[in-house]
């Protein structure tokens, strides 16, 4: 149990498999179009990763992760949109130099809150800080008042609905229902051609692994154990001298920041951002990815995001009407049949076989004691 290693053996296998698939196998076997689709799926893996910490570990179900995904995505999209709206690109507009949707809505100068998004440094900070601060405000308002469980889930859902309505309603400032389209360059570097898509894919995978590292670090500290403790016996944690609200706020903010990084990568990889990735439905879908993959498992949740989205693409290509039913059925199946998701199935059926394989290959005294201590939690 006193595990000084960063990954135990089964996690190490998970890490190597994921790294091999994302860094080597997929880039070598897929064409750029499909690889770009994987990049899109992976943006949701960031959200799922955050939900593992917040929901799986902390027991805080947020049905509003789309809000943070959207805030991150919009921050990135605002920067890209400004760059795409140079005076020379927009000279046919009645006010050149502002984004096209503003011109269509009779706005004649760039709004004040858009100004700082000329700077990439500011944009990167905003991608982290805007959703982080927003989560801090919501978290403080809710958790300090001991609002939790279902009530919290419903409120996050309401926030997602409100933000969608706000974005759609403020068309002149946000691009409305169409979102921000026609994003072209990042500091003069065109993000649209194939080679750029490949580079962006790798940037995203590296970022994902950085986030996995952060999540794993948090999980291994005492804070990770307090999150688990809090999920089970909130009062006992409180009466052990901890401010439960602060720990919940922390987990919620971390989940928000991860989701925002995913959103920003979405804007870069997919080339647009719209309110359809902010609202209630996408937020719930993000929870489903996490549940399918396994909310207690970092790698499981990432696989959940990749596989469910892959299924979504393949099913929608052949049977567009069936997809939503499929998603619903999948969620019901997860809740009823395998509550720990794919990672639970892995831990129950695949892991024991691997353990047996290892055990028969090198049997040395005392080995078994370690395996019990390492392998017991289903991660």
């Amino acid at each position: 149990m006193i595990n000084s290693r960063f990954f135990n053996r089964s996690e190490l296998i998970g890490f190597i498999v994921l790294a091999a698939v994302l860094f080597v196998i997929l880039p070598l076997s897929l064409d750029v179009f499909r690889l770009n689709l994987v990049a899109k799926y992976l943006t949701y893996a960031f959200v799922a990763l955050g939900l593992v910490l917040c929901w799986g570990y902390g027991g805080i179900l947020s049905l509003g992760q789309g809000v943070f995904f959207g805030l991150g995505g919009y921050c990135m999209a605002m920067f890209l949109k400004l760059e795409a709206s140079s005076v020379e690109n927009t000279k046919i507009q009645s006010t050149p130099g502002i984004p096209d949707f503003m011109d269509w809505n009779q706005i004649t100068s760039l709004p004040l809150f858009w100004q700082p998004f000329h700077s990439l440094t500011f944009t990167i900070l905003a991608i982290i800080l805007v959703p982080g601060l927003f989560a801090l405000i919501i978290g403080t308002a809710m958790f300090k008042r001991r609002v939790g469980g279902t009530y919290f889930a419903i409120i996050t859902q309401a926030v997602a609905a409100i933000l969608t309505i706000l974005i759609v309603g403020q068309q002149g400032y946000t691009g409305g229902i169409n979102g921000m389209t026609d994003l072209r360059t990042l500091k003069g570097w065109d993000i649209r051609p194939d080679h750029a898509k490949v580079i962006l894919y790798f940037v995203e995978v590296v970022l994902l692994f950085a986030c996995i590292g952060i999540a794993q670090f948090i999980r291994l500290t005492k804070l990770g154990r307090i999150l688990v403790a809090m999920r089970e016996q909130e009062d006992r944690v409180r009466f052990s001298g901890y401010s439960v609200a602060n720990f919940k706020i922390f987990a919620f903010c971390m989940a928000a920041v991860f989701a925002a990084i995913g959103g920003a990568m979405f804007a870069l990889n997919v080339g647009f951002m719209s309110p359809s990735f902010v609202g209630i439905v996408p937020s719930i879908e993000m929870v489903i990815y996490t549940a399918v993959g396994g909310r207690m498992s970092i790698f499981g949740a990432i696989w959940g995001a990749i596989l469910v989205n892959f299924a979504k693409t393949s099913l929608s290509e052949s049977f567009p009407q069936l997809w939503l039913f499929g998603l619903g059925a999948l969620f019901i199946a997860v809740v009823l049949a395998f509550p720990n998701g794919l990672s639970g199935l892995w831990a129950d059926y695949v892991q024991p076989r691997i353990d047996r394989l290892f055990a028969s290959r090198k049997r040395k005294p005392g080995w078994n004691d370690n395996s019990v201590a390492d392998g017991a939690p289903a991660e």
Partner: protein, 251 residues
């Protein structure tokens, strides 16, 4: 009841404490004082407000009026985690331990260091922590179960684990709500032995129904009835109080 500056020797001074739930006064103008190193047992029939009194002291329930002074600090205005940090530990009636964590991790969480978000991120499991956890685990008869997940423990072992989690906090005032309820005879004897060992150098406030157990450990007994004190004093005095016999011991 006069609320004023209490003499220094009182560790805990409860005065004029009242809490009402929708008009029902669960605790009504209650005053009592606990000295340093005193073992006080609260007894009384069901619904007398015993658990509520502990809830009020540890901050789980907010008082409607009155004051609770602990070492001169007013507890009624503090948050639960601040009250714990001042040195008040509370064990709940049903064992509340973290079942998805091991015995070691359960005890480690209660170790009084790194209690902020940042502190828990940078918390190191150093030798001091390990030694202290092992020391406490030995006291609560769980030394060979450090790596066991708490959901595999028996009811009695969970109760001990929770007592251990309080011990590791090293509180000046330990509050125990029915520590031997639901235990087997042999567990009960072991628990009595454990309590007798841990009550040294601290004050303890115990709720208990087991009169044999009360007699064994109590310095002073407070009998509650309908949110008020019916009788207070040594076990001998309380046992022979006709009012107490009528409402409680007579059954």
């Amino acid at each position: 009841m006069l609320v004023g500056h209490q003499p220094k020797e009182f560790l805990l001074a409860v005065s004029g404490l009242t809490v009402s739930f929708d008009g029902f006064k669960a605790v009504n103008d209650l005053s009592f004082y606990v000295e340093e190193n005193e073992i006080r047992v609260i007894i009384g029939p069901n619904g007398a407000g015993k658990t509520t009194v502990l809830d009020l002291i540890c901050g789980k329930t907010k008082a409607t009026s009155g004051s609770i002074q602990f070492r001169g600090k007013e507890l009624t205005k503090m948050k639960e985690n601040e009250i714990v940090q001042t040195g008040v530990g509370r064990k709940f009636q049903t064992p509340s331990v973290f079942e998805d964590l091991t015995v070691f991790e359960n005890l480690e969480i209660s170790f009084p260091r790194g209690r902020t978000v940042f502190g828990s991120l940078t918390f190191q499991r150093d030798q001091l922590v390990k030694d202290r956890v092992e020391e406490v685990a030995e006291m609560i008869f769980l030394k060979d179960k450090l790596n066991t997940y708490a959901d595999e423990l028996s009811h009695g072992q969970k109760q001990w684990l929770e007592i251990g989690m309080l011990l590791i906090q090293d509180p000046d005032l330990l509050m125990l709500d029915e520590p031997v309820a639901g235990m087997s005879v042999s567990e009960r004897a072991k628990t009595a032995e454990l309590l007798n060992r841990i009550i040294k150098n601290r004050s303890v406030l115990v709720i208990e129904h087991d009169m044999k157990f009360v007699e064994d450990i109590a310095h002073k007994v407070t009998v509650l009835h309908q949110g008020q004190i019916l009788s207070e004093g040594t076990m001998e005095k309380v046992k022979n109080d006709p009012k107490v016999i009528e409402v409680y011991l007579g059954h």
